[in-house]
């Protein structure tokens, strides 16, 4: 049996890689993919605790997170598409209209 801490450390590594992707990459689509990786890392944590606490609630929560993530991807990609129509770019550095 793999100890739970191994899963938790793996999930921490994946989360940190996702966070680094958000900070490093400037293509809005890849930033989005990194956000999805972070969500998945948290899902792994929830499933791990659900397994080792022998409680199915964590898995139900993961299913709801997946529904929200799917909704988030649909809306987020629609925003990227409509921004691309206006600016002809997906570079997040160019999207600074709300910045002052």
């Amino acid at each position: 049996m793999v100890p739970p801490s191994y899963y938790l450390i793996l999930s921490a590594i994946l989360f940190v890689l996702g966070a680094a992707g958000v900070l490093i990459r400037r293509n809005a689509l890849v930033v989005f993919m990194s956000v999805e990786m972070m969500l998945n890392a948290v899902n792994l944590t929830l499933i791990t605790y659900s397994r080792f606490l022998e409680n199915v609630d964590g898995q139900v929560f993961v299913l709801l997170v997946m529904a929200v993530a799917a909704a988030e991807v649909a809306v987020g990609l629609a925003i990227v598409v409509s921004l691309y129509r206006h600016k002809e770019t997906t570079d997040v550095d160019e999207m600074d209209v709300l910045k002052w």
Partner: protein
């Protein structure tokens, strides 16, 4: 045996995650993301969460990655390679902050220790989830459908072309 499978899946998942953030081309990032999601589905099976593993493959590896690829192709990003970042310090800062965050999380996990857990009996996973979703969590389950409906309407409104006149 279980340890070996875990090791392989974990190594491939981490390598794919590095691939996502290291690739210049958005299409390759999306394909590495697919590998990452599939490895996570394998880990869910190891954790006796078969239903979530199948949903992971259908929703993430199926729908989400395909949607990403659609948008990448639609915007013609597959030919555009990201130019190297003119500001190197941002990259260094991201790596430093990432290592710091990782150390912080692992530090928080140390009290949990690395004690080996006695093997837990596998449970009737799908039945348990179904029962929990439709009794204790019935209201969140129904609200998820509202969230998805709002997302569909929002996506259509945002992505549609402005009507003339």
């Amino acid at each position: 045996m279980e340890m070996v499978v875990f090791g392989i899946l974990a190594a491939v998942a981490v390598a794919a995650a590095v691939g996502v953030i290291a690739q210049r081309s958005a299409v390759r990032s999306a394909l590495f993301l697919l590998v990452n999601f599939c490895c996570l589905a394998g880990l869910y099976i190891l954790l006796n969460a078969q239903f979530v593993a199948v949903v992971q493959v259908i929703v993430y590896a199926g729908a989400v990655v395909v949607l990403f690829l659609f948008v990448v192709m639609l915007l013609g990003m597959e030919r555009a390679e990201e130019a190297p970042d003119p500001r190197r310090y941002q990259w260094i800062a991201a790596v430093l902050l990432g290592v710091l965050l990782l150390v912080g999380i692992v530090w928080a996990l140390i009290p949990a220790g690395r004690e080996t857990i006695q093997a837990l009996a596998p449970t009737d996973n799908v039945r348990e989830i179904g029962a929990a979703l439709l009794t204790q969590f019935a209201i969140p389950f129904e609200l998820a459908s509202v969230v998805l409906l709002v997302a569909i309407i929002g996506a259509v409104v945002l992505a549609k072309k402005r009507l003339e006149g």
